[in-house]
C-alpha cells in the first residue's frame, strides 16, 4: 500500500500493512454506524486534511474542461463557448509544440544518461571513504544545493558563467575570448544538465546510502577473507545490492520523461530564447497564463497530464513486476 518503503530490498514483505501496530481486535459484527460513532473524534483529525485534498487537488481536475472550451476569463466557465476537440486539433498543427516536445524529450534523455548515474557514483565514492567524519562533512556540503531555489541557482550560474561572470572574466584575464554560457543556445542543453547535477547529485545519494546500509557486513568480511580487494567487493557485493533500487529509480525517471525542470527552464528562456528552452510546461505557461490562449494551453496541459499519468502508472507496474517493488 504504502510508498517507497518496499523499494528497499532488505525488507521484503515488511510493508506497513502487514506489521501494523494494532492486533486485529476488531469485533466483527459491530455495525458500521457503531464503529463510526465510537471513532467520531478520529474524524476531527481527518476532515480538515480531506477538505484540503478535495479542494486543492481534486476540484482543479474539473477545471480541465477549459480544454474543450474557447475560454475567456471575462466570460467565465458558465458563458465561454464549448468547442469540442478544436483546441487539440489546433495543437497538432502547432510547430512550437513540436519544438517543445523535442526539447523536453532531448533534455530528459540527457538527464537519464548523465544526471541519473551521478548520485550512484558519488554514493560509491563517499562510501569508500574511510573516515566517518570526512564523509559526514562532505555529505553536509553536497546536500546543500538541493535546498536552494532555482531562482538562486540560476542567479549563481549567471554570476559565474554569464557575460560579466567569474569564468568569462577569468578567461579574459588569461587572454581568452569572453563568453556567455547563459545566452548560448548551442550549449544550453549541457548547461541545463550541469545545473541539475549540481543541485541534486548530493541529495540523490541518500537513497543509495540507505541501500548500502542494508547490506549485511559479514558478506564483505567473507569476501575479504576470500581475498577480494575493495574494488571487487564493490563490484560483486555493493553494486548488486544497489541494482533493485537503481532499476526502480530509472523506471520512475522514464515515467517522468515529459516533465523537465519547469522553473529552471522558465527562468532561463528569456536569456537563451524559446528555440532551445521551450519545454511542454513552459509552452503551457506562455500560451495560457501569459498569452491568453486558455483553451489551447489547457488542452496541452491536459494531454501532457494524461500521458504522464499513464507513463508513471505503467512505469510503476513494470518496476513491480521486475523487483516486486513500486511506489504504490
Amino acid at each position: 500500500m504504502t510508498t517507497r518503503q518496499r523499494t528497499v530490498p532488505a525488507a521484503p514483505g515488511t510493508s506497513e500493512e502487514e506489521a501494523p501496530a494494532a492486533p486485529p481486535v476488531e469485533v466483527r459484527g459491530t455495525s458500521l454506524w457503531t464503529r463510526i460513532k465510537r471513532e467520531r473524534v478520529a474524524y476531527t483529525f481527518i476532515v480538515p486534511g480531506l477538505a484540503f485534498f478535495v479542494l486543492f487537488v481534486y476540484v482543479p481536475l474539473l477545471g480541465n474542461v477549459v480544454a474543450f472550451m474557447d475560454f475567456s476569463p471575462f466570460l467565465g466557465l458558465e458563458d465561454s463557448p464549448w468547442v469540442g476537440f478544436d483546441n487539440f486539433r489546433a495543437l497538432l498543427d502547432d510547430p512550437e509544440l513540436r519544438d517543445a516536445l523535442v526539447n523536453t524529450l532531448t533534455i530528459s534523455l540527457l538527464l537519464v544518461v548523465f544526471a541519473f548515474p551521478a548520485p550512484l557514483a558519488l554514493a560509491l565514492l563517499l562510501n569508500s571513504l574511510l573516515s566517518d567524519r570526512v564523509k559526514r562533512i562532505v555529505q553536509t556540503v553536497v546536500y546543500l544545493p538541493h535546498f536552494l531555489s532555482w531562482v538562486i541557482v540560476i542567479s549563481l550560474c549567471q554570476q559565474l558563467l554569464g557575460g560579466n561572470g567569474f569564468v568569462s572574466t577569468l578567461v579574459q584575464d588569461l587572454g581568452g575570448e569572453p563568453f556567455n554560457a547563459m545566452t548560448d543556445p548551442d550549449t544550453f542543453y549541457a548547461l541545463v544538465v550541469s545545473q541539475s547535477i549540481w543541485k541534486d547529485v548530493g541529495w540523490g545519494t541518500i537513497i543509495f546510502f540507505a541501500a548500502i546500509a542494508a547490506v549485511p557486513r559479514d558478506r564483505y568480511e567473507a569476501a575479504a577473507v576470500d581475498g577480494a580487494n575493495s574494488w571487487r567487493r564493490t563490484w560483486h557485493i555493493t553494486l548488486p545490492a544497489l541494482l533493485p533500487v537503481t532499476t526502480l529509480l530509472l523506471i520512475l525517471q522514464i515515467g517522468n520523461v515529459l516533465t523537465v525542470g519547469f522553473e529552471q527552464l522558465l527562468l532561463q528562456q528569456p536569456a537563451v530564447g524559446a528555440d532551445a528552452a521551450q519545454v511542454l510546461d513552459t509552452f503551457v505557461y506562455y500560451r495560457g497564463v501569459a498569452g491568453g490562449q486558455w483553451g489551447v494551453s489547457a488542452a496541452a496541459g491536459l494531454l501532457k497530464g494524461v500521458i504522464a499519468t499513464v507513463l508513471i502508472v505503467s512505469a510503476n507496474r513494470v518496476a513491480k513486476r521486475l523487483g516486486g517493488s513500486g511506489i504504490f
Binding site: A22, E39, P60, L129, D132, V142, A213, A214, F328
Partner: protein, 312 residues
C-alpha cells in the same frame, strides 16, 4: 536482493549507515595513490558545490571601486550594498513577504499534515480512513496542471493575496506518508495506556504523539519552510502587486532579468553601489535564511530519520 536475515533498515535502532570507523582492520587496506586520488576528487566536488556561494558572498562585500573594475578576488570590502538593499526598498519588502509566508505556511502545514497523518494512521479502526488514504496517495500520480490551478485560485478570490502562496501547499502527499509511517512506528502501548487512563484523542496527540515526533517534525518543518521560502512560480502567476512579491520574484526581476532596482539610495546625493554588488547582496539575502537553518536540521539527516523518510 539481500537475504532476509539482514537487519531491516527500518529497524529504528540502526539509524545510521554503517560507519567506517567501526570497521574491521582488513577493510582499511587501501593503497596510497588511490586514497590520494579520492582526496583530490572529493575536494574538487566540495569546491564546485561551495565556490559559487562563496564567490557571491565575497563579491557582495567588495568595495564599489573594485567591483566596478571587475576584480575577481577583492581585497577591499564595504557593506554599502547591504545598507542599500536593507534601507526599506523592494528587497526588504520581498524578504518580509517571504518571511510571513514561510512562517505562517510552515506552522499551518505542520498542523494540517500531522493531524491528517495521525488520523490516517489507524486505518483499521476508523471506517473510511482507508478510502481517504487512497485519495491522498493517488494524488502523487497526477496534477491538475497550471491552468486549472490558476482558475481555482482565481475563483477563490485569492489572486494578489498571500494566501494564494500558502494554502495550495499545506499538505504534500509525500510528506504526509512519511509522517504517517513515523507515527505508526511509535510504541502503541503508550497510547493505549493513556486511553485507559481516560485521555482524549486530542490530548494523546498533543501530549504524547507530537512530543515523541520532534525529529520528523523538524525535518518536515524544514521541507515545508524551504518549499515556501523557495516558491517562485506560484507568486509569478498569482501575485501581480509588486508590494506583495516574495524575495524569489524580486531576485528574478532584479538579478536574473537585471531590471534597474528602484529607490536604491535614501540620499540622492550619494551614488548607489554598483549593480553587481547589489545583485550579489540580494542573492545572499535570499540564500542566507536557508544557510542559517540548514545546520540545525542537518543532523537529523545524518541521524538517518531522513533516510527512512526518503524511502518512507
Amino acid at each position: 536482493m539481500a537475504d532476509t536475515t539482514a537487519p531491516s533498515v527500518f529497524d529504528r535502532r540502526r539509524r545510521r549507515p554503517a560507519g567506517r570507523d567501526d570497521l574491521a582492520p582488513w577493510m582499511r587496506k587501501t593503497s596510497k595513490p588511490v586514497s590520494a586520488l579520492k582526496g583530490v576528487v572529493v575536494t574538487g566536488i566540495c569546491l564546485v558545490m561551495l565556490y559559487p556561494v562563496v564567490y557571491v558572498v565575497v563579491m557582495s562585500l567588495a568595495s564599489p571601486r573594485q567591483a566596478r573594475q571587475g576584480v575577481l578576488f577583492p581585497t577591499e570590502f564595504s557593506l554599502d550594498a547591504y545598507r542599500a538593499i536593507f534601507s526599506g526598498g523592494v528587497v526588504t519588502q520581498g524578504l518580509w513577504v517571504s518571511f510571513v509566508v514561510t512562517a505562517t505556511g510552515t506552522v499551518l502545514a505542520l498542523a494540517m499534515t500531522s493531524t491528517l497523518a495521525w488520523g490516517l494512521s489507524r486505518t483499521r479502526d476508523v471506517p473510511g480512513a482507508r478510502a481517504v488514504l487512497v485519495l491522498v496517495l493517488a494524488s502523487m500520480f497526477f496534477g491538475a496542471g497550471i491552468i486549472p490551478n490558476y482558475l481555482l485560485v482565481k475563483q477563490l478570490g485569492l489572486l494578489d493575496s498571500l494566501w494564494a502562496l500558502i494554502l495550495p501547499g499545506l499538505i504534500t502527499a509525500f510528506n504526509l506518508v512519511v509522517m504517517r509511517n513515523f507515527f505508526m512506528e511509535l510504541p502503541r502501548e503508550l497510547m493505549e495506556s493513556a486511553r485507559i487512563d481516560g485521555a482524549g484523542e486530542w490530548r494523546i496527540f498533543l501530549r504524547i504523539v507530537l512530543p515523541l515526533s520532534r525529529p520528523i517534525l523538524a525535518v518536515m518543518g524544514l521541507f515545508y519552510a524551504v518549499g515556501f521560502w523557495n516558491s517562485y512560480f506560484n507568486a509569478l502567476i498569482y501575485i501581480n502587486d509588486p508590494d506583495k512579491w516574495p524575495i524569489q520574484v524580486v531576485l528574478q526581476q532584479y538579478v536574473i532579468a537585471a531590471s534597474p532596482i528602484p529607490g536604491m539610495t535614501p540620499n540622492p546625493d550619494v551614488p548607489p553601489p554598483p549593480a553587481i554588488t547589489l545583485q550579489m547582496a540580494i542573492i545572499v539575502a535570499a540564500t542566507l535564511p536557508i544557510l542559517l537553518v540548514y545546520p540545525f536540521v542537518q543532523r537529523y539527516f545524518t541521524s538517518g530519520v531522513l533516510t527512512g523518510a526518503i524511502k518512507g
